[in-house]
C-alpha cells in the first residue's frame, strides 16, 4: 500500500505503471484523479487551498485502504493527496487500485474515494470572484459513503 500526502504534483502514468508491473497476474488497474475546477457553485474559482491534520491524515487514509482490502480481492492500492495552494486543473488526488479482474478494482477505487471524501481530515478553502470561502461538506458525499453499508 502507498499513501502519501504532499505539496508536490504527482505523475499519474508513473504510479499506474508501478502498480501494473508489480505483479504479472494483475489484470486490471482502476484509477481516479480529482482536480481543481475553475467553477464551483456557479462562481469562478481562481485558487484552492488544502489544509489537513498532519499525523491523522495518513492514518485515516491507511485505515480506508485497509477496509477496501478486507472487502475486495484487490492486489494493491495507491493514494496520493496534495495539500497547499493549487490552481484550476491542478491535480488534487490520485487513487489507483490493481486486481486480477475489473469488478473488484472498480468497487475498491470508488469505495476509497467515497470514504476519503467523508473521513480523511482535509479541508478546502477557495478564492472565487465572490471572495474567499471554506467549501462546505456535501450531503451527496455522505450519501455516497452510506451506499457501501447496504451490501
Amino acid at each position: 500500500m502507498t499513501v502519501r500526502v504532499q505539496t508536490e504534483d504527482f505523475d499519474t502514468g508513473f504510479e499506474i505503471n508501478q502498480l501494473r508491473n508489480a505483479r504479472k497476474d494483475t489484470g486490471a488497474v482502476v484509477s481516479f484523479i480529482g482536480q481543481v475546477r475553475d467553477l464551483n457553485d456557479g462562481d469562478t474559482v481562481s485558487q484552492l487551498t488544502l489544509e489537513h491534520y498532519q499525523g491523522m491524515t495518513e492514518k485515516a487514509l491507511e485505515a480506508i485502504v485497509n477496509q477496501a482490502q478486507s472487502r475486495w480481492d484487490i492486489f494493491d492500492a495507491v493514494v496520493i493527496h496534495r495539500v497547499g495552494t493549487l490552481q484550476p486543473t491542478d491535480q488534487i488526488v490520485l487513487v489507483a487500485v490493481s486486481s486480477a479482474h475489473r469488478g473488484e478494482a472498480f468497487k475498491a477505487c470508488e469505495f476509497i474515494m467515497d470514504y476519503l471524501k467523508t473521513e480523511a481530515p482535509f479541508w478546502k478553502k477557495e478564492v472565487t470572484n465572490q471572495g474567499e470561502r471554506w467549501i462546505e461538506a456535501k450531503l451527496t458525499d455522505d450519501n455516497a459513503r452510506e451506499r457501501w453499508h447496504e451490501n
Binding site: 491534520y53 499525523g55 491523522m56 492514518k59 471524501k117 467523508t118 480523511a120 461538506a137
Partner: protein, 89 residues
Amino acid sequence: MKIKILYFARLKETLKFSTEDLELQDDEFARTLTILKLKAYLAKRNDTWQQMLMGKLKVRGAINHELVDDNATIADGDEVAFFPPVTGG
C-alpha cells in the same frame, strides 16, 4: 489532567487558535470528560467560542487521530481535535 487540543479550518481561523495545551483539575468533571463536555466547557470562553463549538456549525471531533462521536471519553494525555466536516478529494 493534561490534554492537547487542535483546531482546523474554519474553527482555527475564527478562534485564532491552532493548538493549545489544556490542564484540568483531576476531579469528577475531568474523569468523565467527553467530547461534548469539552465542547461545552470551551464554549464558555466567549460568544465566538460558543457559536463555533455549540452553535449551528457541525463540529467533528477526533481523539488521538481517530474520528469519534460526541460521547467518546477523553483521557489524560490525549490529543483532541475539533474541525468542520471534511472536504478533501
